[in-house]
């Protein structure tokens, strides 16, 4: 059981600094997702942890052991890390079985020990051991890559966008199998991804990276409902921003606390919240459509986008003609042009107003 500690890590890619003093602790046996757009530096961070690339500054510790730091650089093969890359990177000249046992000592490789067991662990049939990697589907290749990484019983496993090259159906089933195998092995996991749903569903902790810095680190529900900044808010899912004025007093449900007055009425906001004119974040699923009634905000339905299980509804508020988006149940989509009443559930998040 090993805690991964990253302290003040800075690194460059191709001579250009891409990581600027990152701190992250991944507690032993938990899973952290590093979420960020392409080119934000998240893969570089993973490569520094794996030892493929030196850090310019900072310290990487696995448990009590410093593997990278001032004057210290432990070769990748001596770090005891499992690494699964985007394309799996199976050795094309070796069979599946030889790939899985690649990292084992020679006698264990000869005896073919653990191969079947490891393939089963990742939800594959042991019969696949004799196949060539190119005879496997993309999802199977990724599972073999994980089995290969787990063969040496690493204490930390690094996953570099392992599902992004798979198509949607395969992605969720592979993710499920990988999550189960990792849970079974009880390892510390770092997942790098640009897919917010993947990060939120897979990890115990989500670190949002933007331009080589972590803009927020926290539990999935925390970063989703109370993002640290507008960028994180927009990156984690659909977001509605409204202009509002901070106020103090009673909220719509009679609860005390910080409230803001907006075109959608008086909303309770997460504390602490800035004063004066603010930008208020609401998630589309927080906006509920209801019958018109006196005193509640109402809006005209501009358009609907139907997804099956749910639908997004674009609405123009009658109060100030702001356009907002609401997520509604797929069985209950309003007609375009109709006028509906609106209410907001849950806390909103207020940010300082940006002109």
């Amino acid at each position: 059981m090993t805690t991964l500690r990253i302290s003040g890590v800075a690194a460059s890619y191709d001579g250009r600094p891409v990581l600027h003093g990152l701190d992250l602790v991944v507690p032993s046996g938990t899973t952290s997702a590093i979420l960020g757009a392409s080119g934000c530096g998240k893969t570089t961070l993973l490569r520094v942890v794996a030892g493929f690339q030196p850090a310019d500054e900072g310290i990487v510790q696995l448990g009590d052991r410093t593997v990278a730091g001032p004057g210290v650089w432990v070769a990748p093969e001596k770090r005891g890390i499992g690494y699964v890359a985007q394309e799996g990177n199976l050795f094309p000249h070796l069979s599946v079985g030889a790939n899985v046992s690649y990292g084992l000592p020679r006698h264990a490789r000869r005896a073919g020990e653990r191969v079947g067991e490891l393939l089963e662990l990742v939800g594959l049939s042991p019969d696949l051991a004799a196949r060539r990697p190119d005879q496997l589907s993309g999802g199977q290749q990724q599972r073999v890559a994980l089995a290969r990484a787990l063969a040496r019983r690493p204490t930390v496993v690094l996953l570099d966008e392992p599902f992004s090259s798979l198509d949607a159906g395969l992605r969720s089933s592979t993710r499920e199998a990988v999550a189960q195998a990792l849970a079974h092995e009880d390892v510390t996991v770092v997942l790098v991804t640009h897919d917010q749903a993947e990060a939120l569903s897979f990890a115990d902790q989500v670190a949002i990276m933007h331009d080589g810095r972590f803009s927020q680190v926290g539990a999935p529900s925390e970063v989703y409902s109370t993002p640290a900044d507008r960028h994180a808010a927009a990156f984690l899912g659909d977001a509605v921003f409204l202009r509002g004025t901070a106020d103090v007093g009673e909220g719509p449900d009679g609860a005390d606390g910080a409230v803001v007055n907006t075109a959608l009425g008086r909303l309770v906001v997460h504390q602490p919240a800035p004063a004066g004119t603010v930008d208020v974040l609401i998630r589309p699923e927080q906006i509920l459509l209801r019958d018109m009634a006196p005193g509640i905000p109402c809006a005209e339905v501009l358009s609907t986008t139907y997804f099956g299980h749910d639908a997004l509804v674009a609405l123009r508020l009658q109060a100030d003609h702001t356009v907002v988006t609401a997520r509604v149940n797929g069985s209950d989509v309003p007609h375009t042009g109709s006028i509906v009443g609106l209410s907001v559930v849950g806390e909103a998040r207020a940010f300082e107003h940006q002109g």
Partner: protein, 517 residues
């Protein structure tokens, strides 16, 4: 994420050092010739160069290059278009036949033509024989491009309002330019270094003159000066090709498989096309093979006197193969670090190293040999007149052939795989042995075979550098044909053709890659 290539990985010092050593060895001959020519001084140099003889050599070399390059380009492009883009019957068969002439060394071809037409001499004969020997150099790359060409480009041109002919000229022809230029450069460089054909047909060029100088007088200021002129011509051609090729890449943009082009219907032109291809095959392949058969029968029928000794053929064959084996291994080992550096670290240093090896090997064998003689006589007397110098010359001359194959193989062994091995507990050396070596082995083997064949049939440098008493197939053939023992030369010629035959397979094996010759 496309930006994940591990360019921030530290580059292994051993690879860089080895590459620099290889590059240094490759450019050494160039420096030696330059220094030697410089030693002569401007005055004497001017007197040696400003002679009618030099003017004649320059005129001969230039007219040979211009005529043969024009003819090979025309023939190569026409044949490639017929084979790859038309309804010509038996295209696969013709494709093989168009590459086969490369298995007949040019000097064997000239011997065959002298058999058919003993009066064949001078510029006309030289152009005829070199054209028939070298047109595959243009055919191969142009055919590869035509085959890989995406029909949708022509379709796009058509949809933008161009007619079929204009879309061919504006969408297809420009894409052939780099391949055709590459082929033309290859033909020109071969012409500049050609010795056997031109000596046999008595058409003096710089290369034959240098060899003559060397054989007349060992201490050869005049030879060195001629070599400098030859080097200047080579560098001029390399630069011209670089400038004409430009920096535009003609790679396909966008993803997805290229759509294969529909063949053009020849219709009534089928018969003339077949006759043309047949005639070319007869001239380029039929004549040499026919002449070989003729001399075999003449020799075995006792119609001519021959000093041919079968035991000597066996010894020579064995000696040649052993030499080629050593040269092949040395060259592949030398090429490996350079290929790694070029494939993995595209920096100014790796480009410099690559260019150094290419420039050196594009110099005529006679120049390399001359420089190595000078070097070994002055600084390494013990290796003078040994196979060490000869193998070094082969390695310098043929390293690009090995490098191109290994480089292509590196694409099958991306750095991520080495990293995967490292993460699985392998140190750098074990990862090299367990991942890089097995994955690049096919490429290294192909490169080895190319060098092996080139070495077995090399004539010029071998004539100059082979230790006294050592004969190769090429030199044994040469001495027999020089003493007009054509029947005695035939078995050696046949052996040379047999040794070269796998070249055809090697060049057609991966038809979409640019060949290295």
């Amino acid at each position: 994420m496309t930006s994940r290539r591990g360019r921030s990985n530290p580059t292994p010092v051993t690879v860089v050092t080895a590459s620099l050593v290889v590059a240094a060895v490759c450019v050494l001959p160039l420096l030696v010739v330059a220094v030697k020519a410089f030693d002569i001084g401007w005055g004497p140099a001017w007197d040696l160069l400003w002679r009618p003889r030099v003017g004649e050599l320059l005129r001969n070399t230039a007219s040979l290059v211009v005529l043969t390059v024009s003819l090979t380009t025309g023939l190569g492009i026409a044949a490639a278009w017929l084979v790859e883009r038309t309804s010509l019957p038996g295209a696969k068969f013709w494709r093989v036949l168009m590459v086969c002439p490369l298995a007949v060394p040019a000097f064997v071809n000239s011997y065959a033509w002298v058999t058919v037409r003993p009066d064949l001499q001078g510029l006309g004969g030289a152009v005829l024989v070199t054209t028939l020997s070298y047109f595959p150099f243009v055919f191969l790359p142009v055919a590869a491009v035509l085959r890989g060409l995406d029909q949708s480009l022509e379709d796009s041109a058509r949809s933008l309002g161009l007619g079929p002919w204009r879309s061919f000229f504006r969408a297809v022809l420009p894409q052939l330019r780099p391949a055709a230029l590459g082929g033309m450069l290859l033909v020109s460089l071969h012409l500049l270094s050609e010795f056997g054909v031109l000596a046999m047909l008595r058409f003096p060029t710089f290369t034959t003159a240098i060899l003559e100088q060397f054989q007349v007088a060992f201490s050869n200021s005049a030879g060195s000066l001629l070599a400098v002129v030859l080097i200047a011509l080579c560098l001029g051609l390399l630069t011209a090709e670089l400038l004409l090729r430009g920096t535009i890449r003609h790679a396909r943009l966008g993803r997805g498989a290229a759509r294969r082009a529909l063949p053009a219907r020849l219709g009534l032109w089928t018969a003339p096309a077949l006759i043309g291809m047949g005639a070319l095959t007869v001239l380029a392949l039929g004549v040499p093979l026919g002449s070989l058969v003729y001399w075999f029968r003449a020799g075995s029928g006792g119609l001519t006197e021959s000093a041919f000794d079968p035991a000597e053929l066996v010894t020579t064959l064995w000696g040649t193969l052993r030499l080629a084996l050593i040269a092949g291994v040395v060259t592949v080992v030398a090429a490996f670090p350079v290929a790694w550096l070029i494939a993995r670290r595209r920096t100014w240093l790796s480009v410099l190293v690559e260019r150094a090896t290419y420039v050196a090997s594009s110099l005529p064998g006679v120049v390399i040999a001359l420089a190595l003689v000078t070097l070994s006589v002055r600084y390494a007397r013990p290796v003078y007149q040994t196979s060490v110098v000869l193998v070094a010359a082969y390695a310098i001359l043929f390293i690009p052939r090995a490098m191109v194959s290994i480089r292509a193989a590196m694409a099958h062994a991306p750095e991520e795989l080495t990293e995967a091995a490292r993460a699985l507990g392998d140190g750098p050396f074990r990862a090299f042995v367990r991942v890089l070596v097995p994955l690049t082995a096919p490429g290294a083997l192909a490169g080895f075979a190319m060098v092996f064949i080139a070495t077995s049939t090399e004539l010029t440098a071998t004539l100059l550098l082979a230790p006294t008493g050592t004969q190769t197939l090429a030199t044994a053939f040469w001495s027999a044909s020089e003493s007009i023992d054509y029947a005695g030369a035939a078995p050696y010629a046949a052996a040379l053709v047999l040794v070269s035959a796998p070249l055809t397979y090697l060049l057609l094996r991966r038809p979409d890659e640019e060949p290295a010759l």
